[in-house]
């Protein structure tokens, strides 16, 4: 019984984290999947969201900036706004860059951002991070507080899915994909490509910021390491590619799937003898890379492929579509 309860709590935690990653992946899907923007700085927007809400919702502390004790909801909204604003600034400079240069630029900006978080100790408490971030429902008894958090995360994922799926099927999604497919032709069709790209970049970043805020509230703690390229950017990219780029369901499924692989391998690696533990961290990355290989060989476009409007099935866009 004890053990069963442990598994239950673990599963709730696993799914909550998977759901938070689904938020991040949905954000990246807008940028890369719909619009073809190679954002390699997911971690940066994640961190902006996480730190914004941390500063706004914690109690006053001498260790870090902020301490306004705002409700978590306000913190999440502010996280989205902050990420959107930074994204606007980044996009104004970088959005005209060719895909590969955009990747380098965003990766660089995210790294600079992480170093600032690490070194501006007066504001961020440096590498020790910000702790005691309030968690929604934490006054509820165990395990209901965890379950409530899971439900909150899933509700957010569902709402996002609904909104983004409508956006994807609308002319908005169509024009974004047109830009992804052929920039010159989109311009020749009278589309203000730069403006639309900036819009997609900002929307995606705002959602990543929300993901960061959820993460901060969920684990009640945030430090600059959580904004490392591997744990944030790399994982989210793998999730999107495996699940199926340009497909919102794919983004969610990919996040849940890859997160499960990622965290269950952690169970294994932490049980290894200490002299192995360090190597094991790389083994995990290797394993995820291997999963990526295997899945992409079986499903080249990801598990769920991109779906386009078909006149014969417009009334009901059915699911599936993983066959080539």
């Amino acid at each position: 019984m004890e053990q069963l309860y442990g598994i239950f709590v673990y599963a709730v935690f696993l799914l909550t984290m998977g759901g938070i990653y689904a938020v991040l992946t949905l954000g990246l899907n807008i940028q890369w999947g719909f619009t073809g923007l190679f954002n390699a700085g997911v971690a940066g927007f994640f961190a902006i969201g996480a730190y914004t809400t941390a500063f706004l919702t914690t109690a006053p502390s001498a260790r870090h900036f902020g301490g306004f004790e705002l409700p978590a909801g306000a913190g999440m909204v502010a996280a989205m706004v902050a990420s959107a604003l930074i994204a606007w600034g980044v996009a104004r400079i970088c959005i005209r860059l060719r895909s590969d240069y955009l990747a380098i630029a965003t990766l660089g900006i995210a790294e600079i951002f992480r170093l600032v978080l690490k070194n501006e100790t007066w504001a961020t408490n440096g590498a020790r991070g910000v702790s005691l971030i309030p968690k929604p429902f934490e006054h509820l008894p165990e395990p209901w507080n965890q379950v409530a958090m899971l439900l909150l995360v899933f509700a957010i994922v569902l709402v996002l899915y609904g909104l983004l799926e409508r956006a994807r099927r609308a002319p908005w999604g169509r024009v974004m994909s047109a830009i992804r497919e052929n920039e010159a032709a989109a311009r020749a069709a009278g589309k203000n490509v730069d403006k639309l790209r900036i819009e997609a970049f900002i929307l995606g970043a705002a959602i990543m910021g929300l993901g960061g805020a959820l993460m901060a509230h969920h684990i009640k703690f945030i430090d600059p390491n959580m904004a490392e390229p591997v744990s944030a950017t790399f994982l989210v990219w793998v999730m999107l590619v495996i699940g199926g780029s340009a497909n919102n369901r794919g983004a969610i499924l990919g996040a849940l799937l890859v997160w499960t692989i990622w965290s269950t391998t952690e169970i294994i690696t932490t049980r290894l003898p200490t002299e192995w533990a360090l190597k094991a961290a790389y083994l995990r990355i290797f394993l995820v890379g291997l999963a990526l290989q295997l899945i992409l060989q079986r499903y080249p476009g990801g598990i769920f492929r991109e779906r386009r409007l078909r006149t014969s099935t417009t009334a009901s866009n059915r699911g599936g579509g993983s066959h080539p």
């Binding site: 956006a167 609308a170 002319p171 908005w172 024009v175 010159a184 311009r187 020749a188 009278g190 078909r310």
Partner: protein, 276 residues
């Protein structure tokens, strides 16, 4: 079959819809367009011919805002539009097609056309979320227009196909289809006939003529198919080595020894030496 007798011949005094003045564009050491000047009269179909590499496409790229000129001016309706971005020129009424088809590969054929029309409320995110009925209404209009266009181009059966899977000629038609989804004032067609089958080519020619006569669209057509040019255009501009060699009716141009020379010389030094 040849020239249309009841075509109105406007006086030379009417201001041109497009004027290109000393337009120049170099790529590194190569001057692709060299102090090129010409005018396009409103309401007419003007042809541009010239050997490969004469700079025809480069001129279109500059007029459509895809490529900044090195020097010179482009006047549209009397306004200097030389530095305007493509989408703004589009909204002023300049529409172009590409010599090498630029399809939206992983969009369906139908979607390729539905992207084009302006004032689609569904391109605004908050409208998508707040006024879906309005979005749907406009979407229906856009759909119907795309359907008409595809039926005309004999591509309707391929509407659900991804554009990347079309044949070269079909992509060429789709290219034209996108231009037909708007209400342009000036249409720049870059080799519309290349790769299109003869039956359809006749239809295409009639369509261009119809759009010109009924809707008053001004056309500039780059073409290597001299018969197509001869049957559509009363005025032809001949380009060689980046500038205007001569212009006039197709018949006059065809007989011009410099033109023959330019084509035979392949635009190389030999041709130019003979010409000069």
């Amino acid at each position: 079959m040849d020239t249309n007798p009841d075509r109105t011949v406007s006086g030379a005094a009417a201001p041109p819809i497009l004027a290109v003045e000393a337009l120049t564009r170099s790529f590194g050491g190569l001057t692709a367009v060299d102090r090129c000047s010409f005018r396009v009269d409103a309401g007419r179909i003007t042809g541009i011919i010239g050997p490969n590499g004469a700079g025809k496409t480069t001129i279109f790229n500059m007029v459509a805002g895809a490529l900044p000129p090195s020097s010179g001016r482009i006047l549209f309706d009397g306004d200097d539009v030389s530095s305007l971005p493509t989408h703004e020129l589009f909204h002023r009424g300049i529409v172009r097609t590409f010599q090498i088809p630029h399809e939206f590969g992983r969009l369906t054929v139908l979607e390729n056309l539905m992207v084009v029309p302006t004032s689609q409320p569904g391109e605004r995110l908050w409208r998508v979320w707040t006024s879906p009925a309005r979005v749907r209404r406009r979407e229906r209009e856009v759909w119907e227009r795309a359907e008409d266009t595809l039926r005309f181009l004999t591509l309707w059966d391929l509407r659900d196909e991804l554009a990347t899977n079309l044949s070269g000629g079909q992509k060429k038609l789709l290219e034209l289809g996108r231009a037909m989804m708007t209400e342009p004032r000036l249409v720049l067609l870059d080799e519309p006939g290349a790769g299109v089958n003869p039956t359809l080519l006749v239809k295409l020619r009639d369509m261009i003529r119809q759009l010109n006569q009924r809707r008053g669209y001004t056309f500039v057509i780059i073409e290597h198919d001299m018969d197509l040019i001869a049957s559509l255009c009363e005025r032809v501009i001949v380009l060689a080595e980046g500038s205007v060699l001569t212009e006039g009716t197709m018949d006059a141009v065809r007989r011009d020894p410099r033109v023959i020379d330019a084509y035979l010389g392949g635009g190389g030094e030999g041709g130019a030496a003979h010409g000069g």
